[in-house]
Amino acid sequence: MVEGIIFDIKRYAVHDGPGIRTTVFLQGCPLKCWWCHNPEGLRDWPNETFVKQSYAKSIGRVSVETIIQEIEKDLLFYEESGGGVTFSGGEPLVQHEFLRQSLAECKRRGIHTALDTTGYAPADIVQSIANAVDLFLYDLKLMDGELHEKYTGVSNSLIHENVKMLTANGNAMIVRVPLIPRITDTDDNLERLAEFVRELNGVNTIHFLPYHQTASQKYRRLQIENKMTDIHPPSEDEVNAVKNRFEKQGFLVKIGG
């Protein structure tokens, strides 16, 4: 079986989909968002020092079997709460072979699966895992192509095509949007976002994730440039304004996943 590279596993994850979940963080991401709060997940191959050391966790290079064992530990909690596993990252599609096999093993065991993804991957790869995903947590950030490129390092066209394809095929989805003052939280971006999501088949739920500065310490430690030094978390009023705005348009809105 293939091996994957995991930089964290979080049990009792309660903000990554329905119920009590285990979130598996896969290493590597093709994007470079200014606000990324998992900068340790960006490198393709983890330097051991970036991997949180913990005796009792299977972190680092792991087999599908190991990760499934880890996921199965909380089976009863998933059953009780309608939860399951969430694969997150980084961008989990980077390690698509490992992801595909892990998802398949979860499905075989009747475990609910969610995929927290940017959608930035070739369409055939996205398609190849879609059947084993019960719920997509699909990140949309900036609707404007140029701005998207500026703040994430990549164009959004592939991301938008994939999301249309997935929803057209009837995949269940929640859209997740990082809420960042002056970057994603602008009139123009929010308006275009609402328009875009309205056109998606069967998507009615949007989760806004307010920007927070938890990662600033990590940036310092990892000596990665932090471009967000003058951006502050949105105020409660700002967050509520966005919530109201989308609720008025008939969306189901949740703050913070």
Binding site: Q53, K73, L209, I255, G257
Partner: protein, 566 residues
């Protein structure tokens, strides 16, 4: 007073009080108010007689009062509001409870006198059906409004009870005063039945004091004292010699340097354990005989079934059931200590037994490396790690086998439970450094909770580890979890915590208690992060370990928590 009173309403109220006090407890109560007054007279009687119960309490209050409540409502004698007020007055009586002075270790741990009255809500009825009623919710309102330390309160949660019952309680818990705690009725019933009680008696029972299971009104179950299990590791490491008192306290089970396997070490540990349990049981029997002879409790004997029928005093085995509990303390500490010996000395051969003995003798004073390994790179109980948890099970079996079923002199037997009250602090003070990296004199772990800061995989793994204990063969275990109120901020958070509790109970867990932490605790965690590695806080849309956060963010959360407090 009534004669002098001019306000007609108050005059009438005083008259009614006088009438009730004339009537109960000589006659059976007929109304809600009479029932409350009846109980209070009984309570005062019990605690002034001898207070042998220490934690005497009205038990299943919502069950007992419900028929009176319904009848009074139907017959127009009572309104919900009036019942609420009477209950509030009842709560105040407990809070103003006459307090015998505390002395010695007990006084040092906490100056607050608590009588450990624990009011049980919910659970099942004698026929096994759902016991939650309107009065249950009314009492939860009273607990929330009064915010009193005494009486303490708890939820009995059966699989038959509705979720809304737990959710209502979590809304109180999140306000951060540690009440109510949550118990598994289905486990309690099984525990009591396993001890040989009738199923109806078990269903009408519950937990009193901290977490102790008992058949209310039919059982004399005595907590005979706490047992420092980690100390046994220290004694085994020193061939029965106690470095603290400089005396040969235990048996000479052999110099551990001569042991070739962990099994040999464990056998020595088990021999020491039995030796001290034997002493404990001899002492218990002596005390029981003294009580029976010199401290009869005739008033209490009137109240507890079958003292009268048996013609025997409560202290002499008159009750239907007669249990003696020995409370094991420090399960987390002893597990981690023995796990470290197995892992570092015998399995991985990181160091030798003489080296370990030397480190402990010196309280790790010249060492950095080994202690770091013990703390960070050795399996620990509380992480759903089968290596450590298997050691825990072995210790549990040893403790259980040493105690369970051994006769007391009241016609019953000894049983185990695992709870510390506050004695884990005192026991820590008389226990030297342990192989898990704990320094001498530091507190032991409490209840069945992991060692402070040893659990790093979140609450589901703590629950999984704790559920590897066979709770059904105990008479109560105590598990503490820390949460910040933000984690319970919305309905979603409350629902998920409800699922967490349900899962623990599905795994036969006995009790769980959520301490919503205060800003003060967070400040403490900032200063000594190594003790608070398990502390989870809600950061923004997500939760994280508090000690992993940057300082600025920690400060922000402290401010936020302060804000949310009362």
């Amino acid at each position: 007073m009534a004669a002098r009173e001019t306000a007609p309403e108050r005059k009438e109220e005083l008259r009614e009080m006088a009438r009730i006090c004339e009537r109960v407890p000589a006659h059976a109560p007929q109304t809600f108010w009479e029932a409350l007054q009846y109980y209070w007279f009984v309570h005062v009687g019990v605690i002034t007689e001898l207070n042998p119960w220490d934690s005497f309490n009205p038990g299943r209050l919502d069950q007992h009062l419900y028929p009176f409540y319904r009848k009074d409502l139907e017959e127009g004698r009572l309104t919900e509001e009036r019942a609420r007020e009477l209950l509030q007055a009842f709560w105040i009586k407990f809070n103003n409870h006459p307090a015998p002075p505390k002395v010695g270790v007990t006084a040092e741990e906490s100056g607050t006198y608590t009588d450990f009255a624990l009011i049980n809500l919910g659970g099942v009825q004698a026929d096994g059906s759902d016991g939650v009623n309107e009065l249950t919710f009314l009492m939860l309102d009273v607990i929330e409004e009064m915010r009193l330390l005494q009486p303490s309160s708890m939820l009995q949660v059966s699989k038959k009870n509705p979720d809304r019952f737990i959710k209502r309680a979590l809304k109180i818990i999140k306000t951060g005063f540690g009440q109510p705690s949550i118990f598994n009725t289905d486990a309690i019933v099984q525990e009591l039945v396993r001890q040989g009680k009738r199923v109806e008696d078990a269903r009408c029972g519950g937990a009193s004091g901290c977490v102790e299971s008992g058949a209310f009104g039919k059982e004399a179950y005595i907590l005979t004292g706490y047992f420092n299990i980690p100390k046994i590791v220290e004694l085994t490491l020193n061939n029965g010699f106690d470095p603290h008192t400089n005396k040969q306290l235990g048996l000479q089970t052999g110099d551990p340097c001569d042991f070739h396997s962990f099994d040999e070490f464990f056998t020595a540990f088990e021999t020491q354990l039995r030796y001290f349990i034997d002493i404990k049981i001899q002492g218990n029997n002596l005390i029981d005989r003294l009580y029976a002879k010199y401290m009869p409790a005739p008033f209490l004997s009137l109240l507890i079934d079958d003292c009268i029928a048996n013609g025997k005093d409560y202290h002499a085995g008159g009750a239907r059931y007669n249990t003696s509990y020995i409370q094991g303390v420090g399960l987390g500490s002893v597990t981690d200590a023995l796990t470290s010996i197995q892992y570092n000395v015998y399995d991985k051969k990181i160091l030798t037994m003489p080296q370990l003995q030397e480190l402990l003798r010196a309280n790790f004073s010249h060492d950095r490396e080994y202690r770091r390994r013990f703390l960070n790179e050795t399996p620990k109980y509380g992480n759903d790690d089968d290596y450590a948890d298997a050691v825990m099970r072995r210790i549990f079996e040893a403790y259980y086998n040493a105690v369970d079923g051994r006769p007391n002199v009241r016609g019953g037997c000894h049983r185990i439970n695992l709870l510390p009250t506050t004695v884990h602090v005192y026991f820590g003070r008389v226990t030297g450094a342990l192989p898990d990296g704990r320094l001498a004199r530091e507190p032991l772990s409490e209840g069945i909770s992991p060692v402070q800061g040893a659990d790093r995989n979140g609450p589901t793994s703590v629950i999984k580890s704790a559920a590897k204990i066979d709770h059904i063969r105990t008479g109560g275990t105590l598990l503490n979890q820390k949460f910040t109120p933000q984690l319970l901020a919305d309905d979603d958070g409350i629902a998920k915590l409800t699922h967490l509790i349900r899962t623990y109970f599905r795994l036969d867990g006995h009790h769980i208690q959520f301490n919503c932490v205060t800003a003060e605790t967070l400040r403490e965690a900032q200063k000594s992060p190594e003790k608070y590695r398990d502390l989870i806080v809600r950061v923004a849309g997500y939760s994280d370990y508090f000690v992993d956060l940057g300082e600025e963010l920690q400060n922000e959360i402290i401010r936020r928590t302060e804000h949310a407090e009362f």
